[in-house]
């Protein structure tokens, strides 16, 4: 019983000791707002931050990556899609900040993907002590290719979402514009006639005065 529990805790230990973490989030950034995401990274670890603007305005956003010593490692202004990789020099909290402060009324939907460290080896089986067999190495490369497929799928989905939301927006605007302009034509048409009639009924007493 005790050995079973210690083996189980060892499994969880391997699960948590991993230095790799990949988080994908899609969030809304209101106009004139700034949002930062922080991550504690060990020195010597590779990390990648990727972002894509899905909807809003001109689909652009300001991006900044700040190191623990407050040094700005990367800054891009009004970018639609970007990816930044670095090997962390210092141990500490890195911040990825998105700013929509240049926009006055368009809130943006932003997708961000932050990957820290290489991917874990498959958990639950223990460390790999011998070199991989051909079967194992080809299945590993299959897994890596499928990871790339998933990544391409995500970006394709975001681009499609961008186009679709724009089309839905356009559809609604066309409808509102049609209704609004119909109403305006009717009001102006009737208004013109009423005002014209008004001119002629007012001039009558003055005409009588001059004649």
């Amino acid at each position: 019983m005790n050995s079973h529990r210690s083996v189980k805790s060892l499994f969880f230990f391997f699960l948590c000791i991993s230095v790799s973490l990949a988080v994908e989030l899609t969030f809304e950034l209101p106009d004139n707002a700034r949002e930062c995401f922080y991550e504690e990274i060990e020195a010597g670890t590779d990390f990648t931050v990727e972002f894509q603007v899905v909807t809003g305005g001109h689909y652009d956003i300001d991006f900044e990556l700040i190191a623990p010593n407050k040094e700005v490692l990367y800054r891009e202004v009004k970018k639609q899609y970007d990816s930044f990789s670095k090997k962390a020099d210092i141990r500490g909290v890195y911040a990825a900040c998105f700013s929509n402060e240049f926009s006055t009324f368009s809130h943006k939907l932003v997708y961000v993907d932050w990957q820290v460290g290489a991917e874990d080896p498959l958990p639950g089986v223990g460390e790999h002590l011998t070199a991989m067999t051909q079967m194992e190495s080809s299945s590993h490369s299959l897994h890596e290719n499928l990871n790339k497929v998933v990544d391409y799928q995500t970006h394709h989905r975001l681009r499609e979402s961008q186009g679709r939301k724009r089309a839905e927006d356009l559809n609604e605007r066309v409808f509102l514009w049609a209704v609004g302009e119909t109403f305006a034509i009717i009001v102006i048409g009737i208004g013109q006639v009423v005002i014209l009639k008004n001119f002629f009924s007012e001039k009558k007493p003055s005409q009588m005065m001059f004649s």
């Binding site: 005790n2 529990r5 210690s6 189980k8 805790s9 969880f12 230990f13 391997f14 699960l15 948590c16 973490l21 988080v23 994908e24 989030l25 899609t26 969030f27 809304e28 930062c36 995401f37 922080y38 991550e39 504690e40 939907l109 932050w114 820290v116 498959l122 958990p123 639950g124 089986v125 790999h128 079967m135 194992e136 299945s139 590993h140 299959l142 897994h143 499928l146 990871n147 998933v150 799928q153 989905r157 499609e160 979402s161 186009g163 679709r164 089309a167 839905e168 356009l170 559809n171 066309v174 409808f175 049609a178 119909t182 034509i185 009717i186 048409g189 013109q192 006639v193 009639k197 002629f200």
Partner: protein, 215 residues
Amino acid sequence: MQFLGISLIFVLYLSCVSGLYFHIAETERKCFIEEIPDETMVIGNYKVQLYDPRTGGFMPSSPGIGMHVEVKDPDDKVVLSRVYSSEGRFTFTSHTPGEHIICLYSNSTKWFSGTQLRVHLDIHVGEQTMDYAGIAQKEKLTELQLRVRQLLAQVDQINKEQNYQRIREERFRQTSESTNQRVLWWSLTQTAILLVMGAWQMRHLKKFFEAKKLV
């Protein structure tokens, strides 16, 4: 010894969550969007820390605050709405494909923004939610067998996503065709309205001037 083992597992499991974090105000509501195909499981791990004004940092654990997690499906129906403790995980499975909105806000009773909260968040979707360690142990799989299981799960997820892509593309096409139809109808209707309006104006004014004996 058993208690030690259990508490060790508990502590190590929860300490996994300290990955990405962000700050929100106490009464602020933060939402994330997950666009997922149907029958996909989503697991979110979170941890909330309260700002400690004495040290200027964040308290390592704040058992007092709770976190309200609300998940809405694409039809704006609430799928999950529960209050969890300051640290925990929430799980849901999508039954309709589309944009699911995950909203987090603390169960603070203040009316205006109180102190800052630090929220650690980690969201896993689809194939990433599979507990490979548990599966390997339960079914006693070798590394290759576990790898094949992982590949199967990944391919299944890719397949679901492609299927969902087909549905989305159809919706996009329908929206574009609807816009096209609307523009066509509107141009015809507007021309008709202008003609009717013009004719009515002329007729009405003619009658008016005839009555006034000016024509």
